[in-house]
């Protein structure tokens, strides 16, 4: 356990060393949120609510979706791909720890850093400018934090899969980029899933992506109520567990045919 905590700490330190990179990030996210806010204001026109969400809920949804993204999002798919291409996995393989767990912890260190230094100040700025409604209900906050933890797990497992695929494809930049688009679209980051046509919603309910963004954002905006919240959390938990299987399977196959470049 100690080594995992240490790895989270180290990654946190590394991020801290480059923290100035993040000030511009906050600005970019704020602009994004602003653009969506004006777009949605135009769409709502005078209407009270669309698909059960009011304009304030919608703005909150967008804001929280982007801020949560700062926590669950990480580049470990790219990192793994690079370590494989440059032969750095060799070094990882002579260390006495499970490589994938360690990568996950690095992602977590990065996520915690961004949550504290990016999402929190970002959220403060955004709620000063736009009509964002933060819940005063403690339960909602607790459910939300449990939910984004699952978001992190699901998203990171998908990243691991994309990263490990490098062992087989060798050059998988395309795959990683495609994966990013799919997640942004199907996770509900850009558009709440309830806005999609029924047939698309049906398909997406069988996919893990809604657990990444749609569920935590709906919990935060209190778009989900009562038993809906629990069903959503269970959905996330089930996907977190199911995804372990392909990640582990692919990893076992990959190790067997690991080829280290260079040296």
């Amino acid at each position: 356990m100690g080594k995992y905590m240490e790895m989270i700490r180290i990654r946190f330190l590394m991020m801290l060393a480059y923290r100035t990179n993040y000030y511009s990030g906050i600005l970019i996210y704020s602009i994004n949120i602003g653009a969506y806010y004006f777009l949605w204001s135009a769409i709502y026109g005078g209407k009270e609510n669309i698909q059960g969400l009011s304009i304030t809920q919608m703005t909150t949804y967008i804001a929280v979706a982007w801020m949560a993204r700062a926590f669950y999002f990480n580049n470990i798919d790219r990192e793994i791909a690079m370590e494989i291409k440059e032969g750095k996995v060799a070094v990882e393989m002579v260390r006495p720890y499970p490589y994938l767990n360690m990568k996950m912890m690095q992602g977590l260190g990065e996520g915690i850093f961004r949550l504290l230094f990016f999402s929190v100040p970002g959220m403060v700025i955004v709620s000063l400018v736009f009509p964002v409604e933060l819940s005063v209900n403690l339960e909602t906050w607790v459910f939300f934090f449990v939910s984004i933890l699952f978001s992190f797990i699901i998203n990171t497992q998908i990243n691991l899969l994309a990263g490990i695929a490098t062992f087989f494809l060798f050059n998988n930049d395309g795959l990683i980029r495609a994966k990013r688009v799919v997640i942004d679209l199907f996770s509900g980051l850009i558009l709440p899933l309830s806005f999609y046509p029924m047939w698309a919603q049906n398909i997406m309910s069988y996919l893990p992506f809604q657990g990444i963004s749609y569920i935590p954002s709906m919990i935060f905006t209190e778009g989900f109520k009562g038993s809906q919240v629990f069903e959503a959390l269970i959905n996330q938990a089930v996907w977190s567990a199911i995804l372990i299987i392909p990640v582990y399977g692919l990893w076992v196959l990959a190790k067997r045919q690991l080829v280290v470049q260079g040296g």
Binding site: Y18, Y97, V259
Partner: protein
């Protein structure tokens, strides 16, 4: 003494795919792909005892790094058996790697963006090293390698030589009984090389650490290793004491004369026709080199005959260097046994 490394009939073959030409070729590649098989390590067997320092040498592409990757559990062998520290490196990877230290001269194992001591601290946690053991052992390592002043610098700001000393220290945090070094002195200046050699000798004496190292700098091997294993095209062509390799190959000596006046080949051959001598011209027609057997009567005979007739400005007797011996072996591709 027990064997710490045991390798039997070890083999590693790489499949490398080649693409066909043109669109039609690319289409065919989708279904069946052409490949060639490269046997990087070809049926090698050897064993290493506790406390030995062994030099693993061979030309570029001989298969040294590939062997080390198999011995450290990074690559799966195509065939053969490896037992290191009583374990199968690939099968019991996590448990196994706790008992070894590895340095790859060509890639860093430290975290690039953080201070050296942060890397050390992380490794200490990873290897579960108790505080007292760490304090005592690492203080010694840090002093001997003289890296104390570097500890609070980020790795990316270190020079190659500074970084390599830190890499060595990092590989020794858990004080492993076995150390693999793949080109640890690549690109280092003479002073750093000396420091590293001294350090390796010291840990070998103090802790009985077994060391297997590859290098292209034969003076490393001469300074450290009594035994060398020589690889060529994936096969072991020599495994034995360095001394023996030298004795079998450096059969002769060279006598270099610098004359005060011009000398010709015929003239010199005439003077020494009683002995078996091969004359070669040196850098100018004043300098000539006689290659002879290392036999006292021959050497003094040749020198006596020549100096009796010709005036000389300088005279040197040269041993054939290990460098030259190894070069000859590489060129011939086999080892003569004496």
């Amino acid at each position: 003494m027990e064997n710490i490394i045991e390798v039997q009939n070890l083999k590693k073959a790489f499949k490398s795919y080649s693409s066909r030409q043109g669109l039609k070729g690319a289409f065919r590649d989708l279904f069946t792909r052409n490949y060639t098989i490269k046997t990087a390590v070809d049926d090698i067997s050897f064993s290493i005892k506790r406390g030995e320092m062994v030099g693993y040498i061979g030309e570029n592409g001989a298969g040294k790094s590939t062997s080390i990757k198999m011995l450290t559990g990074i690559l799966t062998p195509t065939d053969g058996k490896i037992v290191v520290n009583g374990m199968n490196p690939h099968k019991e990877r996590e448990k196994f790697v706790k008992t070894i230290g590895v340095v790859f001269g060509q890639r860093s194992q430290l975290w690039w963006d953080i201070a050296v001591q942060e890397s050390f601290r992380l490794l200490k946690k990873i290897y579960n090293v108790p505080d007292e053991q760490y304090e005592e052992h690492m203080k010694d390592v840090i002093d001997t390698l003289d890296i104390g002043p570097l500890l609070d610098k980020p790795v990316r700001k270190l020079s190659l030589g500074q970084r390599m000393r830190c890499e060595l220290a990092a590989a020794l945090i858990h004080n492993p009984p076995l150390l693999f070094l793949d080109e640890p002195t690549i690109g280092l200046d003479v002073l750093v090389k000396l420091k590293i050699r001294e350090f390796l000798k010291r840990i070998n004496e103090k802790y009985g650490t077994t060391i297997l190292l590859t290098t292209h700098d034969l003076s490393d091997i001469e300074a450290l290793c009594e035994r060398v294993v020589m690889l060529d095209e994936g096969k072991i062509i020599y495994d034995g004491p360095l001394k023996e390799l030298r004795e079998n190959w450096a059969e002769g000596k060279q006598i270099q004369f610098q004359f005060s006046e011009k000398a010709t080949l015929e003239e010199l051959q005439n003077l020494t026709k009683d002995h078996l001598v091969v004359w070669e011209q040196g850098e100018s027609d004043l300098i000539w080199v006689a290659s002879v057997d290392s036999d006292e009567t021959v050497i003094s005979g040749v020198i006596g005959k020549v100096t009796a007739v010709k005036k000389i400005a300088d005279l040197k007797i040269l041993e054939i260097s290990t460098e030259e011996i190894i070069r000859n072996i590489y060129v011939e591709g086999a080892v003569r046994h004496g």
